[in-house]
């Protein structure tokens, strides 16, 4: 090791000097001199304190990287050159006369490669199987949303509200149970809402990792469903410029996107990166009708700059995600009867000609993220410090009486967080990650809307500590164990309807929260503290180089979100009254997963099974009907019940001959209440995907593939139907919001071809046709399925240029 103390090196040098003398005195023709200069291959700087050893000679280079061995005999010498933090280099030198040798040691590059390797394989846990989405797949989906690209992973589905709003569902769970990490920052974007899609642009990401059913304790302890980690790639330590420009056009929605990114890096570690995306779509279309008012406009921007050195660095990252999107015009329902009418009609009651207009109802979202991060390596490990600020602004415009153009919902969520992390490596093949973080969050619902606040004003203070330790027990066994503690204090101000406050017995349960009784409403100041522990223990057994078994148990604790605690009243977009509960405690998930993974050059197989026992699972059920002046509404309450979810998924890919590739994916998930085995709502149906591809590398990497996706009907669902009185006809009708639509089968075609351009860049052209057969179907996991079918055929053409 190069880090030996100066005195020992001196001793060795002296020793070699004396040895030299001795050799000299007995050998003939031994007056040759070997001069060596050791320099950094990367930037040519001399390397001091490099050790050079040959036979029993040993020396170290001086300040200028020079070293001289004198009185060498004519012979072939094998030199071993080493330097701090470098792998040794071996070179042979034939000595016949005085010789000078310049030795380039791959100082920086070695370290760079090491970083690249770590970066490529950098798993968030060593004992959890992570599903990854590569840059190539992200490129193919660059005009789409995060929710759609995540669906390419077995066991991940999406819960949609129309064609564009798409929320990831991991192992049957979603919203607050799935945590999204964007470039190391936990996304705080009002993820609790079922019609709130993640505020993240897939064009700003180079890699996504999905951890099913467990928390990545470094980031969160409350990921009962799973964690999605989105990252941009690390900058190269070279003097170079690289980037990409992509244009995408699609037939359905008659729109497209343009996206570009540009990175400038320097070998001294400084870099910057710019990225931007613009997307514009008009109304989407089913095979039979136009989905009026479903277009959207999205523009995103990200900037990153910093210094990336081996032992220290920092970066500043800013991203803006903003969009404006139409909500299907005919999904605007005020009462249960409106929904009955919509279901009976089968097609929306408002169908207009295709248009790019984004009318009311619509959403307007902008998400700003600013991150500052620095790290430095010390003897005891890598210490990093991170500060981030996020501001999420959500405006929802609804159809309102009068000429009210103000939004009906206007929320601003601001989050500041600061975190210290320490990663230490030990010699016995073990690693320890520890960290401490604090977060402050403030939600502000603008009262100017003239509509009762859905989410109240609140301030939230979080504090967390975590520690994750892993150790290689032998060549085959790896053990990981971690624990995290989260403290949260919520301080909310909310106007409750006095009648509700009393009907829920809150006046007796929480009299201390009351600030003022204003007659119709009561101003309250609910304050809560939550102490949560989450933990994780995992084992990885390597059967061979190509086969691994992962076992993991993780316990995640999630505090109730603001919607679960504070909801009270009519939720227009779902035409139901939703009531939260102030007395909820944290939900605790116990997830057991077992994964078998085998891969070789020709094939790969991943089998994943899981069981997730969730105590105090928070979910909503209809309990009653509530008469109001606008008619009778279903009255849904959040409840806490124990639940169980289990399932398995399989992914098998195999290459036949040299050019054929066949892939299969299958996943099944079941979820029930534990007490009475009643199925949970919105569980993804069983689905089977098959893919066959043919590639011709000689023809510009032409790749043709056909994908088949069969989604079974969900046969297990809770029956939440109820009778609605139709006064005009004096009869009762059943409002059937539960029965899932039938199974469907979609065929997709994909092709790509690449060209090299003269200046070293390359073009890639993608043609993709989704729903090739223009199948007319409904999707159980689309919240708007009562009002509309899914998108028909969509032909997408994209051209991208990489340089």
């Amino acid at each position: 090791m190069c880090g030996a103390s100066f005195s020992s090196k001196l001793a060795l040098t002296l020793y070699s000097f004396f040895s030299l003398c001795c050799i000299n005195s007995f050998a003939q023709n031994c007056n040759n001199r070997l001069s060596i200069q050791v320099i950094d291959l990367h930037d040519g700087t001399p390397l001091e304190n490099a050790t050079v050893q040959t036979n029993d000679l040993l020396g170290t280079t001086d300040f200028d990287g020079n070293l001289i061995f004198e009185n060498l005999c004519e012979d072939t010498y094998v030199l071993t050159i080493s330097h701090e933090d470098c792998e040794s280099l071996v070179q042979t030198v034939d000595i016949k006369k005085d010789t000078f040798r310049k030795i380039r040691l791959e100082h920086h590059l070695n370290e760079l490669e090491e970083i690249m390797i770590i970066s490529n394989n950098r798993n968030n846990s060593r004992t959890l199987f992570e599903n990854k989405i590569s840059k190539e797949v992200l490129d193919d989906y660059n005009s789409r949303t995060l929710g759609e690209v995540l669906k390419t992973v077995t066991g991940v589905s999406s819960l949609n509200s129309g064609s564009y709003l798409s929320k990831p569902v991991i192992n049957g769970l979603h919203s607050s149970r799935v945590i999204l990490i964007n470039n190391g920052v936990r996304l705080e974007d009002q993820e609790w809402g079922i019609e709130h899609a993640p505020s993240i642009d897939i064009n700003s990401i180079d890699k996504i990792s999905i951890i099913k059913g467990a928390s990545a304790l470094k980031y969160a302890g409350d990921a009962v469903g799973g964690v999605i980690i989105a990252e941009s790639s690390r900058e190269k330590l070279l003097d170079t410029v690289y980037g990409n420009a992509t244009t995408n056009l699609q037939s359905n929605g008659r729109g497209g996107s343009v996206s570009t990114n540009f990175t400038k890096t320097n070998s001294n570690g400084w870099y910057y990166r710019l990225q931007g995306t613009l997307k514009r779509m008009g109304d989407f279309e089913t095979p039979e009708y136009v989905m009026t008012n479903t277009g959207f406009l999205e523009h995103n921007l990200s900037l990153k700059a910093g210094l990336n050195r081996i032992d220290h660095g920092f970066d500043i990252y800013y991203s803006l995600f903003s969009n404006r999107l139409g909500i299907l015009r005919s999904s605007h329902a005020h009462t249960a009867i409106d929904i009955i009418n919509a279901i009976e009609n089968d097609i929306p009651h408002i169908i207009e000609d295709f248009s790019y207009d984004i009318n009311i109802p619509r959403q307007k979202i902008s998400h700003n993220l600013l991150k500052l991060r620095g790290f430095k390596n010390f003897d005891f490990g890598k210490l990093s410090l991170r500060y981030d600020f996020q501001s999420n602004d959500r405006k929802e415009y609804d159809i309102r009486r009068g000429d009210r153009t103000r939004p009906a919902l206007d929320l601003n969520l601001q989050t500041h967080s600061i975190a210290f992390d320490l990663e230490s490596k030990f010699e016995n093949n073990s690693n320890l990650k520890t960290g401490i973080s604090a977060r402050y969050q403030k939600n502000f619902p603008d009262p100017a809307t003239g509509v009762k606040r859905i989410i109240p004003d609140y301030k939230k203070y979080d504090f967390s500590l975590y520690s994750v330790f892993d150790i290689g027990l032998s060549n085959d066994w790896l053990l990981e164990a971690g624990m995290r503690y989260d403290f949260s204090h919520i301080d909310a101000y909310k106007y409750y309807r006095t009648s509700l406050w009393e009907a829920r017995n809150y006046d007796e349960l929480f009299p201390e929260f009351v600030v003022e009784d204003l007659g119709l409403n009561t101003l309250t100041n609910p304050k809560f503290d939550f102490h949560n522990i989450s933990s994780n223990i995992g084992l990885k057994y390597s059967i061979s180089n190509s086969e691994n078994i992962f076992f993991n148990y993780s316990m995640s604790s999630r505090k109730p979100n603001p919607s679960e605690l504070f909801s009270e009243g009519l939720h227009h977009s779902s035409a139901r009254i939703e009531i939260g509960d102030l007395s909820f405690n944290s939900e605790v998930g116990h997830n057991f997963s077992l994964t078998y993974d085998s891969s070789n050059e020709k094939s790969s197989l991943v089998v994943n099974t899981f069981a997730n026992l969730v105590d105090d699972f928070i979910y909503m059920i209809p309990v009653d009907l509530m008469p109001t002046i606008a008619g009778v509404f279903p009255y849904w309450e959040y409840k806490q019940e124990d639940a169980k979810l289990f399932g398995f998924d399989v992914k098998y890919d195999r290459q036949y001959f040299t050019n054929f590739f066949i892939g299969h994916q299958f996943s099944i998930i079941k979820g029930y209440e534990r007490e009475n085995d009643k199925p949970l709502i919105n569980m993804p149906p069983v689905n089977l995907k098959n893919q066959i591809s043919y590639s011709i590398p000689k023809m510009n990497n032409l790749n043709l593939s056909l994908e088949s996706e069969y989604v079974f009907r969900q046969n297990e669902y809770p029956n939440n139907n109820f009778e609605v009185f139709i006064p005009t006809e004096d009869i009762y009708l059943t409002l059937d919001t539960s029965t899932p639509p039938g199974a469907y089968h979609l065929l997709n075609f994909a092709s790509s071809i690449g060209f090299k351009s003269e200046n070293g860049g390359n073009y890639k052209i993608n043609l993709r046709i989704e729903n090739l057969l223009n199948h007319h179907y409904k999707n159980y996991l689309n919240r708007l399925r009562y009002f509309t079918h899914e998108m028909g055929r969509n032909i997408m053409l994209s051209v991208s240029y990489n340089y």
Binding site: H312, F314, S330, H332, A333, H334, T335, I337, D338, N341, H349, I350, L372, R373, G374, F375, K376, L385, R386, Y387, F389, I399, R400, R401, G402, R404, Q414, H416, Y440, P447, T449, G450, V451, R453, P456, D457, Y493, Y495, R497, T498, S499, L500, A503, V515, L518, L520, L523, G569, L570, I577, M626, P627, T628, I629, A630, G631, P727, T728, E729, D730
Partner: protein
């Protein structure tokens, strides 16, 4: 250690933004709520025969059910001039929503129906396109008996239409009044 200096620069942000503006949020003026619908029926033949039907739900989407009252029986074989008033009594003073409905007459329509007793309804006011609105109407009880009258205000129906079932739009208010015809 330069990086830490940069990182430390971030910390003041935290303090600046944590300023404790201990303000309680201002109450919201719930503007679009309809709490009260009052239907006044005046007998064409006898001006002193006035029947008032009212539904009032002062806590809106709160748990208290609307209070429905009908002042008295209707007289068979006559006709009544009907008018409807909608109020938002959550605001102080109460806001008369009727004016708003009349101003946006092309975006609204009132629908009438009866069950158990024979009734005839005639629209007396129309929007700019000549399609019915229904804040003014005539109600004619055909024969004696008891049953109910349902009045529905629909926002953004397809106009013209052949009735509530196919009009689309969304229901702003719908109330069934028990009636007796003598």
């Amino acid at each position: 250690m330069k990086i830490f200096k940069y990182a430390l620069l971030a910390i003041p942000f935290l303090y600046f933004s944590c300023d404790d503006d201990n303000d309680t949020p201002e109450p919201i003026n719930e503007e679009e709520v309809i709490t009260t619908m009052t239907v006044t029926l005046v007998n064409h033949q006898n001006g002193s025969d006035v029947v008032t039907m009212q539904t009032q739900d002062l806590d809106g989407d709160g748990p208290n059910a609307p209070v429905v009252t009908v002042s008295g029986p209707l007289t068979a074989g006559t006709s009544y001039a009907g008018s409807i008033q909608w109020l938002n009594e959550m605001e102080d003073p109460a806001e008369d929503i009727t004016l708003e409905v009349q101003e946006e007459d092309d975006e609204h329509q009132v629908f009438f129906s009866a069950s158990g007793v024979g009734m005839e309804f005639v629209y007396m006011d129309f929007d700019g396109n000549g399609n019915p609105l229904g804040t003014q109407f005539v109600l004619a009880p055909l024969g004696a008996g008891s049953g109910s009258v349902t009045i529905t205000l629909v926002h953004e129906p397809n106009k013209p239409n052949d009735g509530l079932d196919t009009a689309g739009g969304s229901i702003d208010i719908q109330t069934t009044f028990p009636v007796t015809v003598e």
